[in-house]
């Protein structure tokens, strides 16, 4: 049912990427980007109104991707849906062949273009996993009502090794696994030392045997972007050395790709990592090159 599942379960190093759906009633750009990524990634995340900016839905974008022959990972936040909408949406997703679902709390609406909205947060991302896990295993909705047909789901969750309190981050990952997560995509890794530390406590607790962890990477495009990431994006830490490299680079894009490549090389050596998740925001065209440079495909 899920190609990503097969890849991860066979022990191969998985590669996923991300497409941000446009502010548009057309899926054309998604189709183009999907075509670009088709032969080099195992699956693609379709973000769900990320940073709380209204965009074409993750569901519609996932469907467009699927039609282009690229396996989608449907992202779903707890910000905009209560448990009724969530369950209904995964039934619909599964019915249309979208089986990878990423459970997220979501960026707060105060970041986006609908600041006056009321948020939902009926459940948090761990409870969302529990609900979907029950649906797929027991064929019941939350509360016990039977489903005629169970959804087939491969459940993803996020982990941010760079957020605080650091000591709790592995514990939170353990909770996500207990709630039903099959795979984890981490926040973008820039601070490789801290990521190594995180992964070593993950492995100490044997969690790498219970879930597939894909490390997030993000190519920096410019010095401004590096500064912006460091100062304005919650949950991302950028070492100063990296920022100065971007500042003094003659060709910042090439420098960004070099940093990304070095990061992937380091990540490959870390025990317990089962793949990478490449987040090239509005720069999806560079993904094939990152994959090639890092020798991620056989």
């Amino acid at each position: 049912m899920s190609h990503l599942k097969d890849v991860l379960e066979s022990g191969k190093f998985a590669v996923t990427a991300e497409i941000s759906p446009p502010k548009s009633a057309s899926c054309e750009t998604i189709r183009k980007k999907a075509a670009m990524l088709k032969d080099c990634v195992d699956a693609v995340n379709l973000t769900d109104n990320q940073t709380a900016i209204v965009r074409i839905s993750s569901f519609a974008s996932s469907l467009a991707c699927l039609q282009e022959g690229v396996e989608p990972i449907l992202q779903m936040t707890c910000r905009d849906r209560n448990r009724i909408a969530m369950q209904s949406d995964v039934l619909g997703a599964s019915a249309f062949g979208i089986h990878n679902v990423m459970c997220l709390s979501g960026d707060h609406q105060s970041f986006g273009n609908q600041k006056e909205a009321k948020n939902v947060y009926d459940v948090d991302s761990i409870q969302q996993l529990m609900i979907f896990n029950k649906m797929r295993l027991e064929g019941q909705v939350w509360g016990g009502d039977e489903l005629k047909e169970k959804p087939e789901l491969f459940l993803g969750a996020a982990a941010n090794p760079f957020a605080d309190p650091f000591e709790f981050r592995v514990q939170r990952l353990a909770k996500k696994i207990a709630a039903g997560a099959d795979f984890i995509q981490t926040q973008a890794v820039f601070d490789i030392e801290r990521f190594r530390e995180f992964m070593s406590s993950v492995c100490d607790r044997g969690l790498d045997k219970k879930v597939h962890i894909l490390a997030g990477v993000m190519p920096l495009k410019s010095y401004n972007m590096a500064e912006h990431m460091k100062n304005n994006v919650s949950g991302i830490t950028l070492p100063d050395g990296m920022i100065s490299r971007m500042k003094s680079a003659a060709d910042p894009k090439e420098e960004g790709l070099a940093i990304c490549n070095e990061t992937i090389e380091e990540i490959k050596k870390i025990k317990g990592v089962h793949g990478v998740h490449i987040m090239a925001i509005s720069w999806e065209s560079v993904v094939p090159r990152i994959i090639e440079d890092a020798d991620l495909r056989d």
Partner: protein, 233 residues
């Protein structure tokens, strides 16, 4: 206690509209403690509105009254009785007070405060929300700090990925409730509690179940008892 703050004067003026005789009603409980609607604030607002009326030759007649509480029928009735010659009552009580007075008053009652939350003063002049009134308290599971009211996403199983240096992702002035919960459980030597998953919450006892009504059967008077009580008063 209930935390509220006074509406901006310009908004109060526009709410008053063409009315001329205004009774400003204060509350000596919560609204007074959070310095939004006690005797002092009633006097200040009365002076400001008087000045505005004079400057614009509006001829407003402003009077003042404050009671122990507005959120009980007895007190609300006393306020309404005082207002017999007024056009409107401008309440500086919380939203509950406004509604209680309106119920027993034959003239319109307008809100002079924005009622915000259930919380308390952190220090003089700083008030923090503490409880979301969910109707099913689980503070024993979260180190005595309420994530429903104090986490921007009401998360129940730990901090989201935006928690950094003890601050919430929405704003560097906002404490991350989950960081506070973590530090507090650590202090209490109870960190192991955080490994338990709190399942999806039952929101029926919260506002999601519709307006809430608590009935204490043993306290409710029978029709006969009500008559006896009325006779005594």
């Amino acid at each position: 206690m209930i935390i509220a703050e006074r509406k901006p004067i310009s908004e109060i003026i526009s709410i008053i509209g063409n009315n001329k005789k205004i009774l400003i009603a204060g509350c000596r409980s919560c609204a007074s403690v959070c310095m939004a609607g006690g005797d002092r604030e009633v006097a200040t607002l009365s002076e400001a509105l008087g000045l505005y009326s004079d400057l614009n030759s509006l001829g407003w007649e402003i009077s003042e009254i404050s009671k122990e509480r507005q959120c009980e029928k007895e007190w609300a009735r006393e306020i309404a009785e005082e207002a017999s010659s007024a056009d409107v009552i401008l309440s500086l009580g919380c939203g509950v007070g406004v509604q209680f007075i309106q119920e027993v008053s034959g003239i319109p009652v307008f809100p002079g405060l924005n009622t915000s939350n259930m919380g308390g003063p952190e220090e003089q002049g700083i008030y923090l929300e503490k409880c979301g009134g969910c109707g099913d308290c689980t503070l024993h599971l979260t180190g005595g700090i309420c994530p429903i009211a104090r986490c921007s996403k009401s998360m129940l199983n730990g901090p989201c990925g935006g928690s950094q240096n003890g601050k919430c992702e929405i704003n560097p002035d906002t404490q991350c409730a989950w960081d506070a919960i973590y530090q507090n459980l650590k202090r209490l030597n109870c960190l192991e509690m955080l490994s338990e998953i709190i399942p999806p919450k039952n929101w029926i006892p919260s506002r999601s179940g519709g307006p809430r009504k608590i009935i204490r059967k043993e306290m409710v008077l029978s029709e006969d008892e009500k008559k006896i009580k009325e006779g005594l008063e």
